[in-house]
Amino acid sequence: DVKVTQSSRYLVKRTGEKVFLECVQDMDHENMFWYRQDPGLGLRLIYFSYDVKMKEKGDIPEGYSVSREKKERFSLILESASTNQTSMYLCASSLGGSAGELFFGEGSRLTVL
């Protein structure tokens, strides 16, 4: 069974803290994505990656960075968390090159106080 695993389902952090959200997929997918989802705004793409050590900015990269040191793992980093980054974060992966189906992780709900 295909699986995308996000390390934390729920996190509560304080303003200014550094936050790591981890995502691991076991499908040998080339592509990995980080989205955030907010009520009324739908899914917005933060960053994506087509290969190891490769990253591309999505629609809303400000305040975020990513790391992809291994093919199966894609990390989202909030260098200094702010209250406006309180959101649901969704990781997804897909096979390379063909815009094949996206598989989503369970989501990480982050609250920044």
Binding site: A99, L102, F104, E106
Partner: protein, 112 residues
């Protein structure tokens, strides 16, 4: 600009009724995906449509794709309460950076 529009945004329907959710997209593609999301949960894949005229059915849900009209539909037959969720369509564009463009979602409530 690539756009994906879903309508309606909100849908309240009685059990046993039929209804259709529409997904229009601005630029030709033959890759269309439907997802379901329950409150507080992630997105779960429902259908993958990869050619013009593709039709897929699962239980009370049926999805179709018309690439010429740039339109996909998600038809609900004899709705039941368990179908209450938010439904998203997503269009795939392999040769663009983002690759996937999502509709805004349709929040469906089935009333007993």
């Amino acid at each position: 600009e690539l756009k994906v529009e879903q309508n309606p945004l909100f849908l309240s329907m009685q059990e046993g009724k039929n209804y259709t959710i529409y997904c229009n997209y601005s630029t030709t593609s033959d890759r269309l995906y439907w997802y379901r999301q329950d409150p507080g949960k992630s997105l779960e894949s429902l259908f993958v449509l990869l050619s013009n005229g593709a039709v897929k059915q699962e239980g009370r849900l049926m999805a179709s794709l018309d690439t010429k009209a740039r339109l996909s539909t998600l038809h609900i037959t004899a709705a039941v309460h368990d179908l209450s969720a938010t439904y998203f369509c997503a269009v795939g564009y392999p040769h663009t950076g983002n690759q996937f463009y999502f509709g805004t979602g349709t929040s469906l409530t089935v009333i007993p």
